[in-house]
């Protein structure tokens, strides 16, 4: 009805704006602006027009004001400390009591909401409207930060073969200090000028922080918006309210006590504002924030029960350990207590995944976090006051800040986000209490590195904004799932030593097994109509091939070996009846029998290792895991019809990631390049070298040399065999083979310790609800 008369004008009150246009305040009072944007500083500084005139005098503004809206209201939580005007926001209620207040933010966990409610004096209970919070077009990646000072890790932001600056995805790099921002910007400019000499590095890579002048800031923002500049290295001043829609990558360089999960999520919120593009959020984490949690989690999971009760058990030992180390620093005891830290945290809990089973644990952990965050804020404020006093009294020594373990200082929610073994999106959504925690299906891409690893996607092939989940800190060392994705150049292991078997004993059993399997397959193929009912069994695999295959058992360690053996024995893999799945089955048949028949005792060294391992985990559990993974091999789907694809190029990645859980020697890369596979060097110094020195290292299905141990040895073996349950035996065999595989894998940096840890990862049980 009065649309004709409507004049909507908006104004932003800023210090500069008010200075240039002195009438602005008066125009506002007269009600000329319909939407007024203002910062807390301009409204609430001591001599502001707003406090002195606008809210006191009778004017159009006061009469017609319908809403006070406070955007990004979570800033009250953090900024109250260094922007005191934020705490005065509550005064607005006193001046304008009848106007409703609308507080908005993307990150409002309960403790923040409680503080906001208190500061703004909102009516209680306050209504809360929650929208779905999942960022469906954001992938999350955690990468290792080698050290705080070395920024070489960021070189990968610029592609090595760069032709055009637009190949660099628009990137924001968040750092915690101006100096770091300048350092990184300089480094990246150098890299760019080397990789692409005709570019303009100073324009393409910008630094942005609060103390640069306004003109330059604006220039940077414009350049980023129109795409001329591709990487902006910035401090927190960029994290709120930058509205560039096509930023593809947000990188958090380093994690310290000033960062919390809310802030991090705000920063990630800058990525992929445009729903059409896929964004990536990367955190570079120093390893010392992850390892302790992993260590304690491993220790705890050994018992099969996660320690969930904060009240009953705290990590007293851990704290003591840290205290001791701190005392070693000497002088720090003077300033003890000035920087607060989290004490007695049950670290292993921070690896908790958010699943439908762990609801209760997660709720408790979350409650713990909210409580801690509140306590910690209080502590920090006290500490700040304390430090101020301290500085006054002892100004000379005050420069020394006590050294703390960074893990004790870091925000618990952030620690959880970094350490969770489950989906990181779920973790954030659960912490921020959004409703759509389990709506994983909405994710457009690989979601987060943990999800990609757990879903057994081929990590190397995935990539968002120039980075792949294969770069994840979770991927390289601790996850057995990585094996299929290791770059072939490094990951090619030397062939493991041949199995120790008494061939003449095993051979008949193997042949029987294989024949049973063949009969089974034969009948299956008939029911499926792939062969005629009258066909002889020999058509599946001829007897001679079965016999020779069984003879080559000592060289068969992986599915690939079976494949190669069949090829060597003259089986026509191209047109034959066997599929990849069947070859995997053959391997399982052979391997099971060989493992069962393998002599137990080989040398004192291995046996101690075996018994160690045996006590370290529950054999029953491991066996079930192994069997599970084996059965998964059977049921794994084959995507394309393998009959059509030539065998040489056939992709067996659908089998191998699963199989690699139990058989670390299986490599798709090895499969692909098996024809060109180099012969393993003959005298590799191995820990098991002494026991294998008598047997040949050739593995590829050659005719095995029949060597039988002496009668006395055999007797020993038989005795040992009786003492040990078959399940445990199988485990030890597994372990042994893994151990032997650690030699080549050491190239990749896997130590035996890591390997043991990864073993334990496999048997990690799902969280039980007590």
């Amino acid at each position: 009805m009065f649309l004709d008369n409507i004049r909507v004008s908006a104004a932003a009150l800023t210090r500069e704006g008010v200075r240039t246009d002195s009438e602005m305040w008066h125009k506002m009072d007269k009600g000329e602006y319909r939407i007024i944007y203002a910062s807390p500083e301009i409204l609430f500084h001591n001599a502001s027009h707003f406090l002195k005139h606008t809210v006191i005098e009778k004017n159009a503004f006061r009469e017609r004001l319908t809403l006070i809206c406070i955007d990004e209201v979570h800033s009250i939580w953090r900024n109250g400390e260094f922007r005191p005007e934020f705490n005065k926001l509550g005064d607005i209620r006193d001046y304008l009591p009848k106007v409703p207040i609308c507080a908005m933010s993307a990150t409002l966990p309960p403790h923040v909401m409680a503080l906001v409610q208190k500061v703004l004096d909102m009516q209680r209970p306050t209504k809360l409207i929650t929208c779905p919070g999942r960022k469906a077009n954001l992938d999350i990646l955690i990468r290792e930060q080698p050290s705080r000072t070395q920024v070489q890790a960021l070189d990968c932001l610029i592609p090595e073969t760069i032709q055009n600056i637009h190949e660099i995805p628009k990137t924001l790099v968040f750092v915690d200090s101006v100096r770091k921002a300048l350092q990184i910007a300089k480094r990246l400019r150098n890299i760019l000028s080397v990789r692409m000499p005709d570019s303009r590095p100073a324009r393409v890579i910008r630094a942005y922080y609060s103390s640069i002048d306004a003109k330059k800031k604006k220039e940077t923002r414009n350049l980023l918006e129109n795409g001329e500049s591709r990487i902006v290295v910035c401090t927190d001043s960029m994290s709120l309210g930058i509205n560039i829609r096509d930023i593809a990558r947000v990188i958090q360089w380093g994690v310290d006590e000033k960062l919390d999960l809310d802030t991090l999520w705000q920063r990630f919120g800058r990525a992929a504002r445009d729903p059409e593009i896929q964004g990536l959020g990367v955190v570079y984490v120093p390893k010392d924030l992850l390892d302790p949690v992993r260590k304690y989690a491993m220790k705890d999971w050994e018992d099969g029960i996660p320690q969930s009760d904060f009240r009953v058990k705290d990590m007293a030992t851990l704290t003591d350990e840290y205290d001791d180390e701190n005392d070693d620093d000497g002088n720090d005891s003077d300033v003890d207590g000035i920087i607060p830290r989290f004490r007695n945290r049950t670290l292993q809990l921070f690896s908790l995944p958010v699943t439908s089973q762990t609801g209760r644990e997660v709720r408790r952990l979350r409650a713990h976090m909210y409580r801690k965050a509140r306590e910690f804020r209080k502590l920090r404020q006290e500490a700040k006051a304390e430090r101020r006093i301290y500085k006054k009294s002892k100004s000379t020594a005050s420069a020394r800040v006590p050294k703390r373990k960074s893990i004790d200082l870091i925000d618990p929610a952030l620690l959880w986000f970094l350490n969770t073994v489950g989906c990181r999106h779920r973790c954030v959504l659960s912490y921020l209490k959004y409703p759509d925690i389990f709506n994983d299906a909405a994710q457009r891409s690989w979601c987060c590195d943990n999800c990609a690893i757990q879903k057994e996607l081929n990590l190397a092939t995935l990539s968002t904004a120039g980075m792949s989940p294969a770069d994840s800190i979770q991927a390289p060392h601790c996850s057995p799932d990585l094996l299929p994705t290791m770059p072939p150049a490094v990951a090619m292991p030397a062939a493991p030593p041949p199995r120790r078997l008494v061939l003449k004993d095993v051979l008949p059993k193997l042949v029987t097994d294989l024949k049973t399997w063949r009969n089974h397959l034969h009948s299956k193929l008939i029911t499926r109509g792939r062969i005629f009912p009258g066909c002889p069994v020999q058509i599946v695999v001829p007897d001679s091939i079965i016999l020779n295959l069984a003879k080559g058992i000592r060289g068969i360690h992986t599915i690939v070996d079976v494949h190669n053996s069949l090829d060597k024995l003259g089986y026509d893999l191209q047109s034959g009846i066997l599929r990849d799945k069947d070859i995997a089955d053959i391997f399982v048949v052979l391997d099971t029998r060989a493992t069962l028949e393998a002599p137990w005792h080989i040398s004192s060294q291995t046996s101690t290792t075996c018994s160690d391992m045996n006590s370290a985990f529950d054999p029953q559990l491991s066996t079930t895991t192994l069997q599970n993974s084996v059965s998964m091999v059977h049921t794994s789907p084959i995507e394309s019809d393998p009959r059509i694809a030539p065998v040489g190029t056939r992709d067996c990645s659908d089998i191998s990631p699963v199989a690699s859980l139990s058989h670390p020697n299986i490599h798709p890369q090895a499969h692909v390049s098996s024809a060109n596979r180099p012969k393993p060097p003959r005298d590799i110094p191995t820990p098991l070298g002494d026991l294998n020195s008598d047997s040949s290292t050739s593995t590829l299905g050659g005719t095995p040399t029949t060597e039988s141990p002496t009668a006395a040895q055999l007797h020993d073996i038989e005795q040992e065999k009786e003492n040990i349950p078959p399940a445990a035996m199988r485990i030890c065999q597994q372990t042994k083979r893994k151990r032997s595989a650690t030699v080549p894998v050491d190239i990749v940096g896997l130590t035996n310790k890591n390997r043991e840890q990864s073993n334990k990862r496999i048997i990690r049980p799902s969280f039980k609800i007590r």
Partner: protein
């Protein structure tokens, strides 16, 4: 054009009918001004605000938070909304978005938005 006083005397809490009527008005008007349809949650937010209730809105950027407070200018004839934002750059973006006429869909109305005098911010 109804006088301001008439609106002052209205008691919004009297009955839901009245409120619903107001909300509908606001939604309709805001749609005319900004050229965007309201989603359910935005409508319920506006309803709460019309009832003079304080409100938390937990929503990510880009989910349409702005439309809620923008719509509230239609609460009364020439209603005013005060938005407190912690950073200047955000204000800048918002004001420019507004004055570009990009958001203000319907032609006639958008022409009436003055380009801002106070619009040079950093």
């Amino acid at each position: 054009m109804p006088s301001l006083a008439a609106f002052e005397d209205l008691k919004w809490d009297d009955g839901l009918l009245e409120v619903e009527g107001t909300v509908k008005n606001i939604l309709w008007e805001a749609e005319q001004i900004f050229g965007k349809r309201h989603r359910d949650w935005q409508a319920s937010a506006i309803q709460a605000l019309v009832q003079k209730e304080d409100l938390f809105i937990k929503a990510g950027t880009g989910s349409g938070k702005s439309l809620v407070f923008q719509s509230m200018i239609a609460r009364r004839p020439s209603g005013i909304v005060l938005v407190i934002v912690p950073l200047k750059s955000l204000m800048d973006d918002q004001v420019h978005l507004r004055t570009n006429g990009k958001v203000m869909g319907t032609g006639d109305v958008s022409r009436q938005y003055p380009s801002l005098s106070g619009g040079t911010y950093t």
